[in-house]
Symmetry: C2
């Protein structure tokens, strides 16, 4: 606890009033107000950027105004990265512009770009099968086939093209790699997202093209055309950069009971205002905590974690887990899958708590929510502490049918939020929090 | 007719083989093949640009391969214009990037851009009411409320913000003008489209922001915030530029009967490949003419006009009307509203031809098409000749519910075409052409 106290002291010196100059609206504690104001008054808040720092200050002010206690920032640092120029065109067999964006932690081309033959791979498996050295001097293109699914199920397998594809292509000698966006839309808007470089690999330029551009590449490749592509991509690594978690408590009646931890992430990609990823999540958990307590103080404290730097590698969740490793947590929940309705609940709980899970399931039926078989582990924000402490986890599965249309794109804006679905989300969350935060007996570790 | 003959002779010298290097697919006469190949092998074809010239050559080769006769180019020139850099951000009260694109024939800012206060107008009427000189040194923003309609009905009234707004703002002293995109989508993709400058007005920078960006501007303005915007937009007027119409005949049995003229336009905006605007239209009219004649030669010639330079002012349609003013035309039809299904037919015909209209209506019922009350005049491609000659007009109204989501944007790509709806369109067109091209008695002028 010393550690936290010292972090709080440090954070206090960093917090200043938001600089937003417009007349302040009445501070709304409902989810739509929170995500509206965050996206309007702060906007993009890339991990490690000055705007993420502004967002932390904004969060402290808002959580304080909403009556949370012990509102503070827990700073940490991350490897900084920022986007540069990004343009791409097919130059042969026919000139066609490509809508492209760099993946997070992409390397750079020369400032004047690179023009090279493009080698088409229908899947990441086909790329893996390419002979060593066969991509020397070339640009690899990885196609794949992610389709919309209610539980977002294709993101794991097809996202491998983004996460591992660049390393595989670099090892085979590629000068750059392009992938079909990991997304489910049909707009000329490419999807960013972080890539992971193996330690032995020097980052090359790695970008995503939009789905219609990938269709065009596939059509030309399918006709046997030799494709050449001109690519300029000049992101840069900026060294150690400041980030931080915002942590606040809605105090329970019994301070000796371990808290319920609810998490979201405050950082967004730089391309948009992060309304669904993850402004909505922070809005949902916060509004739900307030709603759960509005008819009277709860037995347990609900701790809200607005994590920093989720997008580029879960640094915020790891920092929270490290800082709070020795404090017990009763249960964790996370909201980081958009703003659409909750359709299912899953539990990772000890056998002794099966009656509690059944009680929650019974209560959620009125919202059209049913229990699924999954064994949730929490996401990047609360999953690290849960793994460390084997904390019980409840996952409120949101409908992700539309989520990957806009995920990690310039299209992650407020208009994508359906207020009715957002409110259903808050109502479900509040119902769960009202139950679990009033459990006075111990909630067991999950195993 | 001398004029046409000399144009044909001139055109012959301009036509060269397409430079597309991929192995040629079998030449398809179905609509999907035509629009697929045009968008894949040519891509964007801005009026007056080298790519529009490539498209003309491509069209001549394709129409010739499909068996059309007298395939030729009728050249003309237009005032050239091309896009430059285009970036915009809100700088106060909060830094936020705006997705922006220049309107056709927009003027330019200085190369380093301009930063100025933004004045918000909810409608073009509000802009008109602003006092003279009140916009000196400022950027005007015009919001409006176009919503999707099956017949595209809002485009006329709300499009005024784009067509007349910039002139009005310039007259009141504005240094630049931004409008909410004339469109019905919710993506971060702005819509271009031509603006019309009054003769006494020096063009200023005139652009459109995407719908979510316009929402953000409206939210900030609604909170009373003073907005400042940094805008860089460097398009340029390129002087007299070459364009041309591609004209071809599917010869009828009786060369003395005036032809049925079917029109589309070959040029596209530069932001995309022009799949729905108007590659689809050219594909539909061409495939339908072939389909109408596949069971035997028709009595009348069907003339296809793939007009150049529709987007920046209907120059192609005007050039056709001037060149062919003294040739009689029996009837005109145009396809320039996307690729979705035909839902309604309207007629501008003499009373004497009411039985013909009724016969067509009766035949189209099997496609779910009904007769409406409108009095069509043809569009920019065939409307000028129809107005000059009072030619009869049939309009096959396509479902435009989705059309303005993608119209004039980078999203006008092949994936937006639903093959089943495209085929219904061709089937309806072919049914109409089979009837009207087999009318051997005169078809009367509309009056």
């Amino acid at each position: 606890m010393r550690k936290i106290a010292s972090l709080i002291a440090l954070a206090t010196t960093l917090v200043s009033a938001p600089t937003f100059a417009a007349p302040a609206p009445a501070v709304g504690g409902d989810a739509l107000s929170i995500v509206t104001d965050l996206t309007t008054e702060v906007g993009q808040r890339l991990a490690g950027s000055p705007r993420e720092a502004v967002a932390r200050d904004w969060a402290v002010a808002r959580l304080t105004a909403l009556g949370f206690a012990k509102v503070h920032i827990e700073p940490f640092t991350i490897p900084g990265w920022e986007r540069g120029a990004e343009t791409a065109s097919i130059t042969a067999p026919v000139p066609q512009k490509l809508a492209v964006t760099a993946l997070g932690y992409s390397g750079a081309t020369a400032a004047e770009g690179v023009t090279a033959d493009l080698v088409y791979f229908p899947t990441i498996e086909a790329l893996k099968a390419a002979p060593d050295g066969s991509l020397a001097g070339k640009i690899a293109f990885i196609d794949h086939a992610m389709k919309a699914a209610q539980d977002g199920g294709g993101y794991g397998p097809f996202g491998a093209a983004r996460r591992q594809g660049p390393t595989i292509a670099a090892r085979k000698g590629a000068v750059a790699v392009l992938i079909r966006s990991i997304g489910t839309d049909h707009s000329r808007i490419p999807h960013t997202g972080v890539t992971s470089w193996a330690k032995d690999v020097k980052p090359i330029a790695a970008g995503a093209v939009s789905s219609p551009d990938a269709d065009l590449i596939a059509r030309l490749a399918g006709r046997g055309a030799a494709l050449r592509v001109a690519l300029t991509m000049t992101p840069r690594f900026t060294g150690e950069a400041p980030s931080g978690n915002v942590v606040a408590d809605l105090p329970g009646r019994d301070p000796k009971l371990p808290p319920i931890l609810v998490g979201c992430h405050l950082d967004s990609w730089d391309l948009a205002t992060g309304a669904i990823d993850d402004g909505a999540g922070c809005a949902i958990i916060t509004a739900a905590a307030l709603q759960a307590a509005k008819d009277g103080q709860l037995a347990r404290t609900i701790r809200v974690l607005w994590a920093g730097t989720e997008e580029t590698g879960g640094f915020g969740g790891q920092a929270y887990a490290a800082a709070h490793a020795n404090e017990p947590h009763a249960l964790v929940l996370e909201s980081d899958t958009g703003a659409d309705r909750v359709f299912r609940v899953t539990f990772q709980m000890a056998a002794a708590d099966k009656p509690l899970a059944e009680r929650i399931t019974a209560d959620l039926a009125r919202f059209g929510v049913y229990a699924g078989d999954g064994k949730p582990e929490g996401g990047e924000d609360v999953g690290f502490i849960a793994a460390k402490q084997k904390t019980a986890v409840i996952d409120l599965n949101q409908d992700m049918t539309r989520y990957f249309d806009w995920h990690h794109t310039p299209d992650d804006t407020l208009d994508k939020i359906d207020p009715a679905q957002l409110q259903q989300n808050v109502d479900v969350w509040a119902a769960v929090l009202r139950i679990v935060a009033n459990v006075s007996r111990p909630i067991a570790p999950a195993s």
